[in-house]
C-alpha cells in the first residue's frame, strides 16, 4: 500500500478544503440558529426574528447547494485524474 503523500495536487487540495467546508457548515448553521435566541430572545422571537431565521435558512440552502455542486465537480475531477494516473501506470508496465 502506498504511503499517504505529504502534499497533494491542486485539484485534490481543493477537494479536501471543500470537504472541510462541508464539515464546518453544520456547526455554522447551528450557531447562527441557536445563538441569537440565547443572546437576545426578545428580538429573536417576533417578526424580526422570523425575518432573520428565514433569511438564514434560505442562505443555508443556497450554501449547501453550491457546496454540493462544487464537491461533486471536484470529486469527478479527482476521479478523472486518478484514472489518468492509473492509465499511465499501465503504459509504464
Amino acid at each position: 500500500m502506498p504511503d499517504r503523500p505529504l502534499f497533494l495536487e491542486r485539484a485534490s487540495f481543493r477537494r479536501r478544503r471543500l470537504g472541510d467546508a462541508a464539515r464546518v457548515l453544520p456547526v455554522l448553521a447551528a450557531a447562527l440558529i441557536v445563538i441569537p435566541v440565547w443572546w437576545v430572545p426578545e428580538q429573536a422571537s417576533f417578526a424580526g426574528g422570523a425575518v432573520w431565521l428565514f433569511g438564514i435558512w434560505a442562505a443555508l440552502i443556497a450554501a449547501i447547494g453550491v457546496l454540493h455542486r462544487a464537491l461533486r465537480r471536484a470529486d469527478a475531477a479527482t476521479l478523472r485524474a486518478s484514472r489518468d494516473i492509473a492509465g499511465d501506470d499501465d503504459h509504464a508496465l
Binding site: G19, V37, A50, W57
Partner: protein, 884 residues
C-alpha cells in the same frame, strides 16, 4: 362543499395513489426503474417527515408558541447541512450491510445481536404507535370540518367510523404494496413513488393556502409582518425559551435520522448515497417552503376566526370560512396525504422491525428443525408476519385513538415520539464513528435513555404519573431531553470503555467505522458439497427462482458451472448480507450458522482474519518483487542474446574478411609464379615479378603476424617485458618511425616537451607499437592543410598517464567512432590506407594487456585518441613464475 363530494374526491385520490403505486411497482419489476431512482423522487419521499402533525399541527403550534414551531424543521436542516460527510456515510454503510431498519443497523453493528434489535424495536413501537393514532385523529378531524356546519362544535374525537375506515384503507394499501415480496433489499418502489406524489400535493396545498392568506386575506408581506408583530406583543407564549429552543433543535435533528419512517426513506429506500448530494439542499428547501407560511396562517387564523376555533385546524377552517371551497379541498387532500404517507411508511418500517426482530427469531427458536418438505415456509411466514404486524400497528393506533378520546395528549405525541427515538441516536452515531463502542455500552445507553424518556416524557404525556418537578425558569421538556440524552451518552461511553466486545462485534465495528466490506472468518469455508443446505435455506427465504439465480451467479463468479458455489468466505459473506436484507442481520447470521454448522468466532479467528489480510498483502508484495525480478532477468537475457547474435554476425564477418585479406596476396603470388614459369621471360620482368611475389608474401606474413599477435593479445597470454621508460623518448621514437608513412607530408608537431618527461613502468615496445600506429594513422588520414599533430601528456589523478594525440583533420564521424577499434574496420579506401585494418584493434588489445585503454575523444577538432596508462601494468598471476 358537500360531504359526499368530499368523500368521492377523497376516494378518487386514494384510487390514484393505488394506481401510481401499482404502476411504479410494475415498472420496477420490469427493470424500468430509471426515473423511480431519480434524486427528486428520493427527496420528495423524505417529505414523509412532514406528517399531519406538522401539516395541521405546525399552525396550531405557531399560534400557541410562535416561532418555536420552526425548530421541528430547522433541526433537520442543520442535519442536512452535514449530508455530504454524515448522511452519505450512514447510507453507504447501511447499504453495504443491507440494513432493513434502524434496529437492524444497530444490531448489525453491535455483533448482530438480536436482543438489542428487539429492544430498539420495542422503543420504536412504543414511540410510534401513538404517533400513528395522531395521524388517524387528524384525518378524521379534517373530515369533521367538512361534515359539520359550525366550526365551533367540531368534536375532538370524531365519529370513530372515519378513523376506522381510514385505518382499514391504509392497512390494505400498506399490505398490498409493502409486502408484495421479500426482496433482498427492502425497497418499495410503489410506496415511495406514491408518497413522492403525495409530497407534491402536500406542498402545493400548503403553498396555495399561504399565498391566499398573505396576498388574499392580508395585504402582502409587509402587512403580514406588522400583523405578526402585533399578534406577538399581546402573546406571552411567543417569547422563545433558549433552553427549549436548543433541546427541540437537537431532538428534531435526531428524529430526522432515527424515526423509523425517516430511516426507512432516508436509508433503506436509498439506492445509493449519491442522491444525498441533491437531497442535501432540496430537502431543506422543501422544509423551508412548508414552514414559510405557517406563521402568517396562524396569525390570520387568530385574527379572523372565532377565539374558540381549534388552532390545529386553521389550515382547513381559514379557507372554508373564506368561502374558498376548492382551496379547502386541496388543503384537505394535502393533510390527508401527509397523514397517509406517514402512516404507510411508519407501519412498513415498524412491521419490518417487528417481523425481523420479534416474530422470526421467536419462530426459529420454537421450530429449530424446519420441515424440508415445505420450502416456502419461511418466506411465507415472514411476509405473513409483516402483514400481521401492519394490521396490529394500525389496530393499536386506532384503539389508542379511541381510548384517549383524541385529547390534547395526542397532539404532544409527535414530540414524544421524537424524543423517544432520539435515545437510539448515541448508540447509532457512536457505532459509526467509534470502533471501541460495544454492545454493553449500546444496551446501557439505550436502556438508560429509554427509562428516563419513559418516566419523564412518555408516561406523563399519557397521564400516568406526574411530570418531574423542575427548578423554576427551566423548561421541563428541555430538561428531560438533555438529562436523558446526557445520561444515555454517558452510560454508552462508560460501558463501552469498560466492556469487552466479542469477536463478531469487533469485525462488524471495523466494517462500520472504516466503511469497508465486512469480512467473514474462513473457518466455515469448504467445498461446494456443503452448499446445498444453504441453497435450501435461501429458497425458504427468497423463493426457488431468486435463490437459484443468486447461487448460480455466485458459482459463475467462482468459475464453476451449475448452482452450487464453494463456501468461500466471500460467498458466505455475500449470502449472509443478502439474507440480512430480507430478515435482518441477526437472524441471517443465526440461520447461516445453524445450517453451515458454523462454530463460534473466537479472538484467535479474529487475529487470523487480520493475519490473512496481512499475509495477502505480503504475498502481493512478494509477487510484485518477483515480477520485477523476472522482468529484470528477462531484460538481461534479451541483452545477452542480442550480444550473442551480434557476436555471431561479427565472427562470420571476421572469417569472411580474413579469407578475403589472405586471398588477395595469395592470388597475386599464384598468378605471378605462374608467369615466372613461362620460359621466354626477360630478366627484368622476372626480377619485377619475383619482387611482387616477395612483397605480397611479406604482406601475407605481416597479416598473419598481426592476426597471431591479435589472438595472443586477446587470449591474454602476451609476454610483457615490463621496464621503466621515459615517455619523451618513446614519443620521439614513435614520431621518427611513423614519419616513414606518407613521408611526402610534412606535419607540424605540437608538443609540450617538459610535460613529456615522465617515467612510466610498462612494456615500452608494446606502447611504442601503439604510439606508432596512432601517429601513422594520423599521417595517413589527416586531410587538413597544413597538417598539425598535437601531443599532450598529462598525469591522471590516480597516478597514471594520459597521452592525447590529436590531429586537425576532419576526424571520424560520430556513427563510426564505435567501429574503429573493431577488426578489419577501415574507414576509408583500403587501397589508400594500405593496411589490413587490424592496427587499432591490436592497439586496443595491447592497451588492455598493459592495464590501460585507448579511446576516441570526440569533439577535439580532428581525430583524437587518448591513450591511458596506469601507474604500473597489472601483474599476471603467472608472471613471477615466468620470470624465475
Amino acid at each position: 362543499m358537500p360531504f359526499e363530494a368530499l368523500v368521492a374526491g377523497c376516494l378518487l385520490y386514494v384510487a390514484l395513489m393505488f394506481g401510481v403505486a401499482f404502476a411504479a411497482d410494475r415498472a420496477a419489476s420490469r427493470g424500468r426503474a430509471g426515473w423511480l431512482d431519480h434524486p427528486a423522487v428520493y427527496t420528495l419521499s423524505l417529505s414523509v417527515y412532514c406528517s399531519a402533525w406538522t401539516f395541521y399541527g405546525a399552525v396550531g403550534y405557531a399560534s400557541r408558541s410562535g416561532l418555536e414551531f420552526a425548530t421541528i424543521y430547522l433541526g433537520p436542516t442543520v442535519v442536512f447541512t452535514g449530508a455530504w460527510w454524515g448522511l452519505r456515510r450512514l447510507v453507504r454503510v447501511a447499504r453495504r450491510h443491507h440494513v432493513t431498519s434502524i434496529a437492524d443497523l444497530i444490531s448489525a453493528r453491535y455483533g448482530k445481536s438480536n436482543r438489542l434489535a428487539a429492544f430498539v424495536t420495542l422503543i420504536a413501537v412504543i414511540a410510534a404507535t401513538p404517533y400513528v393514532a395522531l395521524q388517524l385523529q387528524s384525518v378524521s378531524l379534517s373530515f369533521e370540518v367538512f361534515a359539520t356546519d359550525s366550526l365551533a362544535d367540531i368534536p375532538m374525537a370524531g365519529g370513530g367510523g372515519t378513523a376506522l375506515w381510514v385505518a382499514g384503507g391504509l392497512a390494505l394499501f400498506t399490505i398490498l404494496f409493502g409486502t408484495r415480496n421479500l426482496a433482498a433489499d427492502e425497497r418499495h418502489h410503489g410506496v415511495v413513488t406514491a408518497i413522492a406524489l403525495e409530497a407534491i400535493v402536500k406542498l402545493l396545498a400548503f403553498l396555495a393556502l399561504g399565498v391566499f392568506v398573505v396576498w388574499g386575506l392580508a395585504d402582502g408581506p409587509a402587512d403580514m409582518l406588522s400583523r405578526i408583530e402585533a399578534a406577538a406583543t399581546g402573546h406571552g407564549g411567543w417569547l422563545l425559551k433558549p433552553d427549549r429552543w436548543t433541546a427541540l433543535l437537537v431532538v428534531s435533528g435526531a428524529a430526522v435520522i432515527a424515526l423509523p419512517r425517516m430511516f426507512q426513506v432516508l436509508v433503506v429506500e436509498a439506492a445509493d448515497e449519491d442522491r444525498l448530494a441533491v437531497a442535501g439542499w432540496a430537502f431543506p428547501a422543501y422544509l423551508f417552503a412548508m414552514s414559510l407560511f405557517v406563521l402568517p396562517i396562524a396569525v390570520m387564523g387568530q385574527q379572523l376566526l372565532p377565539p374558540d376555533a381549534n388552532p390545529d385546524l386553521y389550515v382547513l377552517t381559514l379557507p372554508a370560512a373564506s368561502g374558498q371551497n376548492w382551496l379547502a379541498f386541496l388543503v384537505f387532500l394535502g393533510g390527508f396525504s401527509a397523514a397517509t404517507s406517514m402512516v404507510v411508511v411508519c407501519t412498513i418500517a415498524l412491521a419490518t422491525m417487528i417481523s425481523n426482530h420479534w416474530l422470526v427469531p421467536l419462530w426459529l427458536m420454537l421450530r429449530r428443525k424446519p420441515q424440508s418438505g415445505d420450502p416456502e415456509d419461511l418466506r411465507g411466514f415472514v411476509l405473513n408476519a409483516r402483514r400481521l404486524a401492519i394490521g396490529a400497528v394500525m389496530a393499536v393506533g386506532w384503539v389508542y385513538y379511541q381510548a384517549t378520546g383524541g385529547t390534547a395528549a395526542l397532539a404532544a405525541m409527535g414530540l414524544v415520539a421524537f424524543t423517544g427515538m432520539a435515545q437510539v441516536l448515541p448508540a447509532m452515531i457512536g457505532g459509526l464513528v467509534w470502533r471501541g463502542a460495544n454492545r454493553h455500552g449500546a444496551f446501557a445507553g439505550v436502556g438508560v435513555g429509554f427509562a428516563l424518556w419513559l418516566a419523564m416524557i412518555f408516561l406523563p404525556s399519557v397521564g400516568i404519573g406526574a411530570p418531574p418537578s423542575v427548578p423554576s425558569g427551566v423548561d421541563p421538556l428541555a430538561l428531560a431531553i438533555f438529562l436523558s440524552l446526557a445520561l444515555n451518552t454517558l452510560a454508552f461511553i462508560g460501558l463501552s470503555i469498560f466492556g469487552m466486545p466479542d469477536p463478531v462485534e469487533r469485525l462488524q465495528g471495523l466494517s462500520f467505522v472504516s466503511a469497508v466490506d465486512p469480512i467473514r472468518h474462513s473457518r466455515m469455508a469448504r467445498g461446494a458439497d456443503q452448499a446445498e443446505p444453504l441453497l435450501v435455506m435461501a429458497r425458504r427465504v427468497w423463493g426457488a427462482e431468486d435463490a437459484l439465480r443468486f447461487f448460480q451467479s455466485e458459482a459463475a463468479f467462482q468459475g464453476r458451472s451449475g448452482y452450487l458455489p464453494d463456501l468461500t468466505p466471500r460467498f458466505l459473506t455475500r449470502l449472509e448480507r443478502r439474507l440480512a436484507g430480507s430478515v435482518g442481520a441477526a437472524t441471517a447470521h443465526a440461520m447461516i450458522d445453524s445450517v453451515a454448522g458454523g462454530a463460534e468466532l473466537t479472538v484467535s479467528d479474529l487475529m487470523q482474519v487480520a493475519d490473512e489480510a496481512q499475509r495477502a498483502k505480503e504475498e502481493t508484495q512478494r509477487l510484485e518483487t518477483a515480477r520485477a525480478e523476472l522482468a529484470r532477468t528477462a531484460r538481461q537475457l534479451r541483452e545477452a542474446n542480442d550480444k550473442l547474435t551480434a557476436l555471431s554476425v561479427q565472427k562470420d564477418a571476421f572469417l569472411g574478411q580474413i579469407s578475403h585479406e589472405l586471398r588477395t596476396p595469395m592470388t597475386s603470388v599464384r598468378a605471378f609464379s605462374e608467369i615466372l614459369r613461362t620460359p621466354d621471360l626477360s630478366d627484368a620482368d622476372r626480377d619485377r615479378f619475383a619482387k611482387i611475389i616477395y612483397d605480397e608474401a611479406g604482406r601475407l606474413t605481416r597479416l598473419l603476424d598481426d592476426l597471431l599477435d591479435l589472438s595472443v593479445l586477446e587470449s591474454g597470454q602476451a609476454q610483457l617485458s615490463v621496464t621503466p621508460a621515459n615517455l619523451h623518448d618513446l614519443i620521439e621514437r614513435a614520431l621518427s618511425a611513423a614519419s616513414a608513412t606518407r613521408p611526402e607530408r610534412v606535419f607540424r608537431v605540437d608538443r609540450e616537451p617538459l610535460a613529456e618527461y615522465v617515467g612510466v613502468i610498462t612494456d615500452p615496445d608494446r606502447l611504442l607499437q601503439v604510439l606508432i600506429n596512432v601517429i601513422s594513422n594520423a599521417r595517413k588520414y589527416c586531410d587538413a592543410e597544413p597538417p598539425v599533430l598535437s601531443i599532450r601528456v598529462r598525469r591522471s589523478l590516480r597516478g597514471g598517464v594520459q597521452i592525447d594525440i590529436v590531429d586537425n583533420g576532419s576526424g571520424i564521424e560520430a556513427a563510426r567512432q564505435s567501429l574503429i577499434f573493431e577488426k578489419f574496420a577501415r574507414l576509408n579506401d583500403p587501397a589508400r590506407a594500405g593496411g589490413a585494418g587490424l592496427g587499432l584493434a591490436i592497439c586496443r588489445e595491447i592497451m588492455a594487456n598493459l592495464g590501460g585503454d585507448i579511446t576516441y575523444l570526440p569533439g577535439q577538432g580532428g581525430a583524437a585518441f587518448r591513450i591511458a596508462l596506469p601507474r604500473r601494468p597489472p601483474v599476471p598471476a603467472n608472471a613471477g613464475l615466468r620470470r624465475a
